[in-house]
């Protein structure tokens, strides 16, 4: 039933190649540009062939933007803080949704989905005023506090489905033996759901990393707190844009995330798309 003729096979592979070219061309071109000297890039029309490829930009970028290391650190620090905070809020809530029946449970769950619809730009004014009133503008907090709220809903949905996979009999047995609910959460649920926690943590980390740009340009003007997506703009000089170094620094910023994600993609995508295959 699933046999293809040779012609069909070629056609399918060609179509997939076209599709993946659209998706991956920017990455390939970013990498290619990062390997070429600037004067080579500044030739019009575009030169497809270069015979002087090197990793020079990857060492020079640290001199062009001396704070680059700091920006990378800031990005990972901010995203880690947001991910940890998100987990702290989400673990008890997801457990509650997975195990208890209470009034307005489904309504609350759907209301959580509605939160996903309001992203940063819509609420930027009150958030800005609030952070200003608390004198949190231009601090790390300004880029941590808002982000957590927008990651909580999806994280609850993800973790809830992991908790539901743990057999309830385990808990009941412990309950009969006199363990309290919080003890059960700590000693039975938490260790058994470690993979789920890791997936949700990674999801929150990637989500937090993606949000950084908006909060950084809106709430922070201090260079020492700037995350990488905003700091990359320093490669744009008054005279020229150092495209090769900018692309090199961009790739340094995304490759670690991509690697982690590729290892965990099966679990994350499964969790996120589970609603699509319910039947």
């Amino acid at each position: 039933m699933n046999k293809y003729t040779l012609f069909q096979k070629i056609l399918l592979y060609l179509s997939i190649a076209v599709f993946l070219t659209f998706i991956l061309l920017p990455f390939v071109e970013m990498f290619y540009a990062s390997l070429r000297p600037l004067k080579h890039l500044f030739r019009s029309p575009y030169q497809f062939y270069s015979n002087d490829l090197s990793f020079w930009a990857y060492s020079e970028m640290w001199n062009t933007v001396p704070r680059l290391g700091r920006y990378i650190f800031n990005s990972f620090f901010l995203a880690s803080c947001v991910a940890i905070l998100t987990l702290l809020f989400v673990i008890p809530a997801a457990y509650s949704f997975a195990r208890f029946n209470f009034p307005f449970k489904n309504g609350t769950l759907y209301l959580l989905l509605a939160v996903n619809m309001f992203t940063g730009p819509v609420l930027i004014i009150p958030l800005y005023k609030m952070l200003r009133a608390l004198s949190l503008l231009n601090t790390y907090y300004a880029m941590i506090v808002p982000g957590v709220a927008f990651l909580i809903p999806t994280s609850i949905w993800l973790l809830k489905s992991y908790f539901q996979k743990i057999p309830i009999e385990l808990e009941e047995a412990a309950f009969v033996d006199g363990a309290s609910r919080l003890q059960i959460l700590r000693h039975i649920i938490a260790p058994l759901s470690t993979p789920g926690l890791a997936v949700v943590g990674i999801y929150a980390f990637i989500g937090a990393y993606a949000q950084q740009f908006l909060y950084a340009i809106s709430f922070n003007q201090k260079k020492e707190f700037m995350p990488l997506p905003a700091g990359l703009y320093e490669f744009i000089g008054y005279q020229t844009v150092k495209w090769n170094e900018m692309m090199a620094a961009s790739l340094v910023g995304i490759v670690p995330v991509l690697i982690v994600f590729i290892f965990l993609q099966k679990y994350i995508v499964e969790g996120l798309t589970v609603g699509a295959v319910k039947n």
Binding site: S44, A93, S96, F100, Y110, M117, I124, W243, K278
Partner: protein, 301 residues
């Protein structure tokens, strides 16, 4: 006397259930719900860094009377329509391709994901280079094939900037749509295909009369979801064009942000944000009612 301890146990567990949710709920109330309320309040003031006074519906009257704002609304919907349509079409084709039984399909599936995972802001720097009129690869291909007779700044002209921002938005949104469609296609019961195969249906007929109808609920859901995301899309346009040239890519979100944090006219910005919230709420109500309808249908079957 016997029911009382039971009742207490029940009550205490309901209490515990709420107590466990409380921190997350309170956090969302402070960071999402209260700002939402505050946005509505501010839209009736002339709030700025200097202070605020109640001005009634002046912000709204001024906003709705300006032809510029009406153009922005129309532009937002046109931009959103084409972006969502392209995401759905490309996503559907992509998912069908990835769903075929070919060697390497697992790898192809992973290769689709990168635009979805990386920070949009960084991906857009790559696109900024691709769109470069003198040195970029797209202009280069155009010039070498003779389609363009000279350098062409894709982001420098009204129409081409509009189209370019849509293409970049489609690039960001397609992976998610593709993966959801793929998951839905893989969830279609295999025996349906086997029965159709025995009846002599071709591959195309099987796709058209089994796969498509089976995943229609997911297509509708994704259309709405990606409409919401596209409507909210900020960074793509902000980084590529900042809403230019001469306002050609200024969508509602971009305009809201410019009024709010570009000019620090909080009142006017808030009035625009309220329009965004109203439209998003309509989407949300539509989405949730659709979702519960689909769930009910699934439960009935």
């Amino acid at each position: 006397m016997i029911t009382k301890p039971k009742l207490q146990a029940y009550n205490s567990s309901t209490f515990l259930a709420y107590a466990l949710i409380a921190p997350a709920a309170i956090y969302i109330l402070c960071i999402v719900a209260w700002p939402l309320f505050e946005t509505i309040r501010l839209s009736f003031t002339n709030s700025s860094l200097a202070g605020e006074d109640y001005v009634g519906t002046k912000n709204f009257a001024k906003m709705l009377a300006s032809t510029k704002f009406n153009k922005i609304i129309i532009r937002t919907f046109v931009w959103m329509f084409f972006s969502v349509l392209l995401k759905l079409i490309i996503g559907l084709i992509g998912a069908a391709l990835l769903n075929s039984h070919l060697r390497g399909r697992a790898a192809f599936r992973v290769l689709v994901m990168p635009p979805w995972i990386i920070p949009i802001a960084i991906g857009m720097l790559g696109w900024l280079w691709l769109y470069n009129g003198y040195f970029g690869i797209i202009a280069g291909i155009g010039m070498r094939t003779g389609i363009l007779d000279g350098p062409f700044g894709f982001l420098a002209y009204k129409q081409s900037a509009f189209i370019s921002t849509i293409i970049s938005d489609v690039w960001v949104g397609t992976p998610m749509v593709t993966l959801f469609f793929l998951a839905a296609m893989q969830g279609v019961p295999k025996d349906l295909y086997e029965a159709a195969y025995c009846d002599g249906a071709s591959k195309w007929a099987r796709f058209y009369s089994i796969t498509l109808p089976q995943i229609t609920p997911v297509i509708i859901t994704m259309a709405l979801l990606s409409a919401i995301f596209t409507f909210n899309s900020f960074e793509i346009i902000w980084i590529l064009t900042e809403g230019g040239p001469r306002g050609a890519t200024t969508t509602l979100i971009i305009d809201t942000y410019k009024q709010a944090l570009g000019n620090y006219k909080f009142g006017r910005g808030a009035a625009r944000a309220v329009v965004v919230v109203i439209l998003l709420t309509l989407f949300a109500v539509f989405y949730l009612s659709l979702l519960s309808q689909i769930n009910r249908k699934v439960a009935n079957e």
